[in-house]
Every structure is written in structure tokens, then in C-alpha cells.
Symmetry: C2
Subunit: 390 residues, 2 copies
């Protein structure tokens, strides 16, 4: 055995031993007292991590299911909504709203850039009939974090409902749901929550509940009202993803021990370390530096290694060095690779990843100063942890 | 420690050690070669267990999600459908179809009875505008198995689409999808599949695909076409429930070793043993004996132990004897209890359950011949395995 596998995709993320052990507990009745306690622990832990006192609903589904729950519960046919599209998951949110009959105003920026809060301000001023803004916080396909604090101010000022895809941000990147006035925030277990995929978690504000009562899109599985009614009794409407909830409960305990500020800082540090490594390798970031994500780093493949050559490089990383990264999505397929660094990722992991990145690139003829990426990473992670920002 | 817990709910079911270990494998990339192999293993194993060459799609969701996928992909507003309602899950299927805009013809029978294929024949003859029949195979709320072989003949003769909720049947009760011509069959991981809840599996026939192309209900998360397109490439449309798929793959290997006929026979034997125990305890089955389920046995509480006293009895079983059974649903809440015996349940388990049933009932003053339930169970499981039928 030459390596332990390094899963550096932007979700699923590695599962810590503690979480694995928690998930191996004997199965329980989902209508009994043990489940009631499990649900209460998970919901209160999530309220802590979402920084909210809003209701939090859980569904057995991936993050897209949480996004669909927002569309199904908030929209009515021909409802006009704004979707800032900064990458593949913004596209997905727009497609989803359209599938549920909404008239979608797409505000697009080139992939690698963030949405401009001022543009959103102008669109909302011009289009008073837009009732809802569906926005990605952290765009996993491009490694860009939107300026959600500013966007939320704009949306609130215009009195529209704000729905946030926080799948790859909440729990890893600061998203204070209550103080920013986010009406609906959505995440999923396989990201910062250090658990397997299969659970989506959704916070719902008072204003969102009011809208839900009027919205007419068809809903059943993801119906928030049915979910809330059952959760109030300590159960769920349909059979819950119990083993994953065991895992998320344990992960939430680990997160409380670390504290939210420390978690956010750790993600910023590790992201800065990866960006330093990318520069040292003579590679180029997709994201504009000032909006580069603390959880995902997207990197252009060297010219000579795009397309099929890039596939070969990813295979070398995986098979020879145990490093699993993600490829590009949409029109960036074959042009970029993406490194995930969210959830259970440590400083040692970043050093090991930088070393594997070097080895694979060298094998494929890319030239750079040997040891440069590892040194760059070390430069960041050994520096005093005072001034780092996302 | 006086007992190991006996989870005898009709789902979730106990997870075998082999399955638990399989699920503790390191997390993998859902867009990589390991996942492609996992998906192929799971789909081919499910095709074997469903006895079908139809497409099988998997979604991160509970069984209700699989049912919703059928409604969202097959129905259009005001489509007329027939739902035989023999219990809570038939009600759920009808509610779900209504939520998606269908005109639902409900054909109800008293809880404890099965649908009469001749009634279905008459309804379909009288209502040519009914396009689709949505039927429960095994009704988990009442412990009744519908005569699906006969129902499927009727539905095929009338040329309507047949959608089957096989959540608590497929893999435990014979449901030969192809030979019975079932267009859509739905199940979920926490039943006979011996894995945690969170994965639903759906088989789709050619006729169902043709309908899907015309149906206009909104769909995105559960869209079969998006799912099929991605599965053809060895991936899934949204992030899959990887750990549960690890578990289902392992469980399918165990099932292949046992063989489908042996699995079905085992469930029939254990159900017969439980029914014998119920009789020996002087209790009454909810189900009519000729349609009593091989996977779930619903039992009337003694008169003196209905309502709150029944809650106390279930607590005694749980806390003093480690036996977890389910209560009643809908109007049977407080009137019945339900024993699940599907998936990883053995002869020893049935003996232990009978012993615990006796102990709890005795504690609560119910009178019967001491040892009668255990003896009745032994009488069935020690008998030659030749003539048992469901």
C-alpha cells in the first residue's frame, strides 16, 4: 500500500472515524423515543450551525432535493423569480424553478466571477414583480463564493424572499441565517457536515412559511407543512435517513468542539494554502481571487493537458498517488479540475495533496520548481493565523 | 445487559454485520470509476431481485420519494387514475396522485382485507378514461398482501399502466416484474434489502417510458429521463446515497447466496410462525388469514390494553424486553400493534420475539397458557418446509 486515498472532491467529503462509528449503531425505529432524541439533537445542532432560530426541516435526499423543496413550497405557476447564475448550480436552480412553472429571470456572469450585488439591486428595482431571489452562496462548479451578505441586504431592502443554496457553504463558510435575513437556506450532509450523502437540511423563516401557505406548485414528498407537523411530534413525514442522521449528530458534536469561528478560519487557511500551491505550480485559478471559495478551488489545466490529456492526469493522480479530485462541469469539462477542501480536511491533508499534485503534474511533463507547491502550502499553514480572509 | 435489541418494526429492519461493515468503507467520488462499478452492481442485483430486464433507477429518498417519482413522471393534470386503498399506504398513494393534479378514483376496502381483482376489473370496464392503476402490493399498515398476480392480469387486459408500491414486498415476497407485466415497481432500502433507509429503487417498463415522454407534471429531482441519461454513463443526476448503496450491494450478495425462492419461503415460514404465536396468545389478526402478509403481522391489542394501556405495553416490551414493534396507523392507532419480519430475520429471532411478546403481555395482565407462543412458533419452524404458502 503506497497511499491512503485522499478524497479531495467538493463533496462527497471524507468521513471521520468517529462519524463512521456513530453510523454503525444498531438500526432504530423511526417512530420511537430514540429517534425523537436523535431528531432533536440534529435539529438543534443545525440551528446552531445555521445561526438561526428558524425551523429546520430534514429530508432524505441530496442537496438538489432541498432545492426542489424550496421551489415546490414557494412557487406558483408563472411566478417571476430572479436567479443569479454564476455556474452549474445556479443553472440548476434556474432549471428547477422553470420545471416548477416559474418565469425565471437569469442574471448571468462569466464563470469564475461572482454576482454583483448592485446588478441585483438594479434588476429588482426594475422588476417589482419578481417575488423571490434564488441564489447560490458558494458555487461548487467554479470555486466562487457570492457576496451573500451584501446580496441579502439588497434583497431585504426590496422586500423579496431570499432562498440560498448553501449546499457547499453552510457549516464551512460563515452564513449567519438570522442576521442576514435569509428566508430559506439549504445544505446537504456530504459537504461540511462530514457525513455521507443522503440528507438535505432546510431552514425556513416566518416569511417563507407565509409564502408557503399561498404557493400552489404540487408537492408531497418535500411538503414543508407535512414535515413540520411530524417534526413537531419528534418524527418525520416519511422514513428518515437514520444512519446518516447518526453521522450528522456526531459530526455536529465535533463541530461544536471546534467552534464555528475556528471552522471558518480553518477553511480559509486551507483554501489560501491551495491557492498558493496553484500559483507555485504555474497554474491559473478559475475564480477571481477576491471571491475565491474557502471550500472549493477550481484550477485551469495547463494548455497541454486539456481534454483527454486532462483525463489521463486525473487518472494518474487517482491510481498512482491516491488523490481524487473533480473535473470540470458544463463548458469547463476538460478545461479545469477542482479540489474540494471542506469538512474533515486538515493541514496535513493539504501538504499531502500538494505533494500528489506535484507528482502527477511532473509525470505528465508539466514544468515547475520541484517542491514549490508543498513549500507554498507550508508557507501559509505555518504562518500566524491572524489576518487571513476568504 | 439483559437483552440485545430486537427491532421488529416493518422497516427500518435490522442491519446485518456484513452490511454495516460494507457501509464503513471510505467515501468515494460519485463521478469516478469506483462509483460506476458500485452503481452497475446495485442495478444488476436489483434487476435480479425484481426479476426484470427493465431499467432500474435509484434516488436518494425514502420509498415515498419513489412513489412521488411515479406520480411526477407519469401523470398530467386531471389524469384519471385508480387507486385501490386497503390501508395507510394506499391512502398515501391516492393523496400523492391528487397532489400532482390527478383525478383519483379511490376503491376502498375495510382495513384488513385485500382488493378484489374482480372489483378492479369492473371499475376499469366502467371507466375507460382511467389510464393508470396505482396499487400497493403489501400494505404495511394492515399486514395484508394484495393478490397482485391477478390484479396485474386484469390491468393488462384493460391496457392500463400498472404502478406498484412494492416498498415492503420486493425482495421479500415474490413479485416477478416482467412476467406479471408491472410497468413501475418501487421499493426502498430499509425493508427486505437489509440496509438503512435513504435509497429508493424504481423499475420502469417501455410502456412507462412512453407515458413519461407525454406526462406534464412538474419534475426535476425525481425526473426519470435525467436519471436514465446519467445512469447510462455510470453516474447519477444528483449526488447519490453512496453509503447506503455500499450496504445494498453487500445485502444483494447475501440475497444471491440465499436465492430468491429460499428468501420468499423463509418469509412465509416466519410469518406463519408469528400468526401461530398470535393465535396461541388468544389475540386476533387484523388481516384476513388468506391475504395475511409474509412480511408484516398486524395484531389487535386485547380489549383491556387498547389506547394508552397499549402504549404502556409497547413501552414494557421495548424497555424491559428489548422488543421494538410498531403501533397502528390512521384509525387503528391504539388498537393494533404490528410486527415486522422482513429482511435479516431468522428462526431464532422469531422464538425470541415470541418469548418477549409473552413476557410483556403477562406483565400487563393478559392471560394465556405460559409458553404457548414460543411453542406455537417452534411448531411451525421445526415443521418440514414443504407446503407453506403465504
Amino acid at each position: 500500500m503506497n497511499f491512503s486515498p485522499q478524497l479531495r472532491t467538493p463533496g462527497p467529503t471524507p468521513i471521520p472515524e468517529r462519524v463512521q462509528r456513530a453510523m454503525a449503531a444498531p438500526m432504530i425505529n423511526h417512530r420511537g423515543p430514540e429517534f425523537k432524541a436523535l431528531l432533536a439533537d440534529v435539529v438543534s445542532g443545525l440551528q446552531w450551525a445555521f445561526q438561526t432560530s428558524n425551523d429546520i426541516l430534514v429530508f432524505p435526499a441530496s442537496g438538489t432535493g432541498g432545492m426542489e423543496s424550496a421551489a415546490a413550497n414557494l412557487l406558483s405557476p408563472n411566478e417571476r423569480v430572479l436567479v443569479p447564475v454564476i455556474g452549474a448550480f445556479g443553472e440548476r436552480f434556474a432549471d428547477l424553478a422553470e420545471a416548477f412553472g416559474a418565469q425565471v429571470v437569469r442574471y448571468g456572469v462569466p464563470w469564475g466571477e461572482a454576482a454583483d450585488p448592485q446588478d441585483i439591486d438594479e434588476i429588482l428595482a426594475k422588476e417589482p414583480e419578481i417575488t423571490t431571489v434564488l441564489v447560490t452562496h458558494n458555487e461548487t462548479s467554479t470555486g466562487v463564493t457570492n457576496r451573500l451578505g451584501e446580496i441579502s441586504q439588497v434583497v431585504r431592502r426590496h422586500g423579496r424572499l431570499l432562498v440560498v443554496d448553501g449546499v457547499s457553504s453552510i457549516g464551512s463558510i460563515d452564513l449567519p441565517v438570522d442576521s442576514w435575513g435569509v428566508d430559506v437556506a439549504i445544505t446537504a450532509s456530504q459537504k461540511g457536515w462530514m457525513a455521507p450523502p443522503g440528507l438535505t437540511m432546510v431552514s425556513v423563516s416566518k416569511a417563507a412559511w407565509t409564502r408557503q401557505g399561498k404557493a400552489t406548485a404540487p408537492r408531497f414528498y418535500f411538503d414543508w407543512e407535512r414535515a413540520r407537523k411530524m417534526q413537531a411530534q419528534g418524527a418525520t413525514f416519511t422514513t428518515p435517513a437514520i444512519s446518516i442522521m447518526f453521522g450528522v449528530r456526531e459530526a455536529l458534536q465535533m463541530m461544536r468542539q471546534e467552534s464555528l469561528p475556528s471552522i471558518f478560519r480553518r477553511h480559509q487557511r486551507l483554501a489560501a494554502a491551495f491557492r498558493a500551491a496553484v500559483g507555485a505550480l504555474g497554474l491559473r485559478l478559475l475564480a477571481q481571487p477576491e471571491v475565491a471559495s474557502p471550500t472549493v478551488t477550481a484550477v485551469y489545466l495547463p494548455e497541454a493537458l486539456q481534454g483527454d490529456a486532462g483525463k489521463d492526469l486525473l487518472r494518474t493522480w487517482r491510481e498512482k498517488y491516491g488523490l481524487v479530485v473533480a473535473g470540470g462541469q458544463g463548458h469547463l469539462t476538460g478545461k479545469i479540475f477542482r479540489i474540494g477542501h471542506l469538512g474533515a480536511v486538515t493541514e496535513q491533508d493539504v501538504v499531502a495533496t500538494a505533494s500528489a499534485l506535484e507528482a502527477g503534474l511532473r509525470d505528465h511533463g508539466h514544468r515547475f520548481d520541484a517542491g514549490a507547491a508543498v513549500a507554498a502550502v507550508e508557507g501559509v499553514i505555518r504562518a500566524p493565523d491572524t489576518t487571513l480572509v476568504a
